[in-house]
């Protein structure tokens, strides 16, 4: 029996060595490049857990494979296996060791989690989610943006709010995610460490446009961030303002290039003949666009779902609606 156990242990060790080597060399391939300070603790723990998985997997599979290969019934022999009912020492061993491992994991994670959530930060960005777009506000600078631009090296508190359903804030390279819950303000701290372009992706099913609820994320040097802030004063030209607002509020559902999204495309929208779900028709003009923004359900274009949220004066002023109209007029086919 001892001989069997020795051989099985060798099999376990070979397996564990191979899998451990795979985790050791391959971990960077398993996960996207890391780009936040908070994520370092996550990657450390994940890497440790992958080693742990490799070890336990090898133990169980090594013993099971050995048993399957060696402890088979040969020929037609009818005898039974060894009459062993159990072994209290073994039972206590494989109860206590896993217990210690999970308690250790819990303790380390508790420490890391409170470290990640410690309430000190250098700047605030307010994130508002709505079906199916993201808006970023910088209260320190009075800026609103559809693109998330942040500097490296600053610990940012993202204050998360939703105007309709639950969304979730996630940039895979930053690792952490947190839900946006209507009625609550949730938060997450991130210190970007890598410059570059990333994507924010909604990670909680939020309806028909969930898959494409993304926003561009640009991490820049602190100097470049200051320059960006200076550029962000609202444009005076209505067409430029309109373009900005459309990319902020509309473009995730209405394409500008004629491609098919959740809502009708804006390409060549002015003067287009449209048929509504109730069978009536109209030509798109300023009043129709104004109504479609304020009360989208009043007339729904045939072939589309009545899912657009209304934008009241508290979210888009009359001037901003006029600017959107001015921009849409430029989108001729």
């Amino acid at each position: 029996m001892k001989r069997h156990l020795m051989r099985a242990v060798i099999l376990v060790l070979i397996l564990a060595g191979g899998l451990g080597y795979l985790v050791y060399t391959g971990f960077e391939v398993f996960v996207p490049p890391l780009a936040s300070q908070e994520g370092t603790r996550i990657d450390q723990l994940l890497r440790f857990q992958f080693f742990l998985i490799a070890a336990i997997f090898s133990l169980v599979v090594g013993l099971a494979v050995y048993a399957v290969l060696v402890f088979r019934r040969r020929g037609d022999e009818e005898e039974a296996g060894e009459y062993i009912h159990g072994n209290p020492t073994l039972e206590i061993t494989w109860t206590v060791i896993p217990l210690l491992i999970v308690l250790g994991l819990s303790a380390v994670t508790t420490r890391d989690f409170f470290w990640m959530r410690r309430p000190d930060y250098d700047m605030v960005v307010k994130v508002t989610g709505q079906q199916f777009a993201w808006i970023f506000e910088y209260p320190d600078y009075g800026i609103k943006s559809a693109e998330l631009v942040v500097p490296t090296g600053k610990r940012i508190k993202f204050e998360l709010q939703s105007v309709d359903v639950i969304h979730s804030f996630w940039v895979p390279e930053w690792r952490v995610k947190e839900d946006l819950v209507p009625g609550l303000t949730t938060y997450v701290y991130i210190t970007p460490t890598q410059e570059g372009e990333f994507k924010l992706r909604c990670a909680e099913l939020c309806g028909v446009g969930h898959a494409t609820m993304r926003a561009p994320v640009r991490v820049v040097s602190p100097e470049a961030f200051e320059a960006w802030v200076a550029e962000q004063m609202p444009p005076a030209d209505p067409v430029a303002l309109g373009e900005k607002l459309v990319s902020q509020y509309c473009a995730s559902c209405h394409s500008l290039d004629g491609s098919q999204r959740v809502g009708p495309t804006f390409l060549g929208i002015f003067g287009r003949e449209v048929t509504f779900t109730d069978g009536t028709t109209a030509t798109v003009d300023e009043d129709y666009i104004r109504e479609s923004i304020r009360e989208p359900q009043a007339k729904v274009v045939e072939g589309f779902q009545p899912i657009m949220p209304p934008f009241g004066p508290d979210r888009l002023s009359d001037e901003e609606v006029d600017a959107i109209i001015a921009f849409l007029k430029t989108l001729e086919k």
């Binding site: 603790r41 013993l63 099971a64 989690f113 639950i166 898959a211 993304r214």
Partner: protein
């Protein structure tokens, strides 16, 4: 033809259709009497809710399920009818209300396999959509409906599968002639059918919340969501009633000499399962009914965004997190409702095919109870990113990871049972070994989601999809399939085809491994759950290709399984009474099992898994059973 029309199933479905129309008519009539807009567009939502509720009453009345109770309520005698139907073909009782636990077990099992097939087919459809980036043939709303449908129908199928195994096996294993409450048992099965019909109808109206139905999205969702919520409510009701019966049977109807620690281990796992189902299912039923009330009567339990009407009434805003707490308080323990019976099957079958006693019987039994109890205190790990308080997240992590301990105990005892055995590998044993391998990856991929910080990364990604499909396949589907092959000769009196069984196993197992690992990798690389289209920039297309192809192979393998059991049930070679040389009491009976199981009382004289010992587990007392 007349026989088909007279079955409880057909009459029930007709009753349900009539009830549905009646319920709709009630609302339209009520609205017009009250002077409200009674057009279909304005009344659709309350009309469907009313139709759904009345339709279930219609089904239960027309199927004949409640006839005996109505008779008794009116003071007429309604004696318990047992045995094959008079003047009808043999199959008739399987499609009608019947009180024999074995008939009900087969009804549960067959329904579950049909639902597994439908939900699997739906999975193949949306997997084909996901093979490449871009929207090919499923619009986003249809995609969302299908993923929610796949999830909830699989859950219903699993609950029915558990019901099938429990109903067929528990009375046989404890030496009883039937369940403790045969009429309640039949009711618990039949209430599923109208529930499932509602969920099927939801497919045609559409809903976009996934199977979790989270408000506020659920509050604003398409018309199908009410049918989904209500359908699940009735399936849950079945689960509660079934659990009452299992507990009463296991605790109250055991044969002489069968102390708790001499019960077959599957009975232990069903006892643990039933304690969860009996006490936690109410919470999902409650949360779903509250959302339906919110949608129908504008009651703001969960949605913080008030309608004008609610504002005028001064209603306080609702809280979306409240729903998640109620929902997961059941839906996490539900995972153990699915896997504990499966793990019980593994523990039950391993000794038979290793010809050795189950190693550490008491530890395995107590591990089931420990999982069931700890399982009540871990629901918050589904909410680590939900905005729940930090303290709550950490607390739920400590409890969650504890589940690994009893799960580990089971694993190590299974290994020790294999060690030094005389193993043989017919199809049921192959599936037990497959279950071990798949449940292992399902289990080992768990702790990274259990520790809060790493879960902030993994939550709502395909890593999770890979993780729970592995736990469901390893913890339920593989053991369930093993159970079907293992008890097939006992149930039908015929033998399944061994070659097709092995083909089924060797197609499905590598495919499942490939599917699981590629899902997990896609998740690590940034693939989110529940999206119809993914960003080609993530570079995850190869993983999706593998997942889709593997999914199709699994579907083909399951088709072979169904062909095998259906064909073998009719044409298979006649089986011996005890083809596995099992010590379990049901294998001491002829196949198929007689109407009343045991004609003489059982007496337990030794331990259930003492393979290699001359004395049997049970002997039959002399004299006949006279209840």
């Amino acid at each position: 033809m007349m026989h088909v029309l007279s079955t409880g199933l057909v009459r029930g479905l007709l009753g349900q259709a009539v009830g549905f129309l009646l319920g709709i008519a009630l609302v339209l009539l009520g609205r017009s009497l009250l002077g409200l807009d009674a057009s279909w567009a304005a009344s659709q939502q309350p009309a469907l809710v009313s139709g759904a509720v009345v339709s279930v009453l219609g089904f239960m009345l027309a199927s004949g399920m409640v006839s005996d109770w109505l008779k008794e309520a009116m003071g007429q005698p309604a004696p318990m009818r047992h045995g094959p139907p008079e003047g009808r073909p043999k199959w008739w009782r399987y499609l009608s209300v019947d009180y024999n636990h074995k008939v009900i077990g087969i009804q549960y099992g067959a329904t579950s396999i049909i639902l597994i097939g439908l939900a699997g087919l739906v999975a193949v459809i949306f997997r084909i959509e996901l093979t490449k980036p871009g929207i090919d043939f499923l619009d986003p709303n249809r995609f969302n409906t299908l993923i929610g449908w796949h999830g909830i129908v699989m859950i219903a199928a699993i609950l029915l599968g558990v019901g099938g195994m429990a109903n067929y096996l528990v009375p046989l294993m404890v030496g009883a002639r039937d369940m403790a409450f045969p009429r309640l048992n039949a009711f618990a099965f039949w209430i599923n059918i109208p529930g499932v019909v509602l969920v099927v109808l939801a497919l045609f109206f559409g809903w976009d919340t996934g199977w979790t139905g989270y408000p506020p999205l659920g509050v604003f969702s398409l018309a199908g969501v009410d049918l989904f919520y209500l359908g699940v409510f009735f399936v849950g009701l079945s689960s509660i009633l079934g659990a009452v019966n299992i507990i009463a049977t296991a605790l109250g109807m055991r044969a002489k000499g069968m102390t708790l620690f001499r019960m077959p281990i599957f009975v232990w796992s069903m006892l643990a399962t039933s304690l969860i189902a009996l006490t936690a299912t109410q919470l999902i039923g409650l949360s779903f009914v509250l959302v339906v009330l919110e949608r129908t009567f504008d009651m703001h339990f969960f949605s913080p965004i008030l309608t004008e009407h609610a504002k005028a009434l001064g209603a306080p805003p609702g809280n979306p997190l409240l729903f998640q707490h109620l929902f997961w308080f059941y839906s996490h323990p539900a995972v153990y409702v699915f896997v504990l019976p499966g793990l019980g099957i593994i523990s039950e079958l391993l000794p038979v095919f290793a010809r050795k006693p189950l190693f550490g019987y008491k530890w395995v039994a107590m591990a089931s109870m420990a999982i069931a109890l700890v399982g009540f205190l871990v629901w918050g790990h589904h909410m680590f990113t939900s905005g729940m308080s930090d303290i709550m997240r950490v607390t739920m992590m400590w409890t969650t990871l504890l589940v690994a301990v009893p799960t580990g105990i089971k694993f190590f005892n299974w290994l020790a049972t294999l060690w030094g055995g005389k193993l043989t590998f017919p199809t049921p044993m192959l599936f037990v070994m497959g279950a071990l391998s798949i449940f292992l990856i399902g289990g080992l991929s768990g702790p990274p989601n259990g520790t809060v910080t790493t879960d902030l990364f993994l939550h709502d990604t395909y890593w999770i999809v890979g993780h729970f499909h592995a736990t469901m396949f390893g913890g339920f589907f593989y053991p369930y399939i093993a159970a079907v092959y293992y008890w097939f000769p006992k149930v039908t009196g015929r033998m399944y085809n061994e070659k097709l069984g092995k083909l089924h196993f060797w197609l499905m197992t590598p495919a499942f491994w490939a599917m699981s690992l590629s899902q997990m990798m896609a998740g690590l690389w940034g693939m989110r759950r529940r999206i119809v289209d993914y960003d080609p920039a993530l570079g995850i297309e190869p993983f999706h290709m593998v997942t889709t192809v593997a999914g199709i192979v699994i579907f083909v393998a399951m088709t072979i399984f169904v062909v095998n059991i259906v064909w073998s049930a009719v044409k298979g070679p006649v089986a011996e009474a005890n083809p596995w040389k099992s010590r379990s009491p049901e294998f001491q009976l002829p196949s198929p099992v007689p109407e009343y199981n045991y004609d003489r009382p059982l007496v337990v004289v030794s331990n259930p898994y003492d393979y290699g010992r001359p004395e049997p587990y049970v002997v039959f007392a002399s004299g006949s059973a006279t209840d």
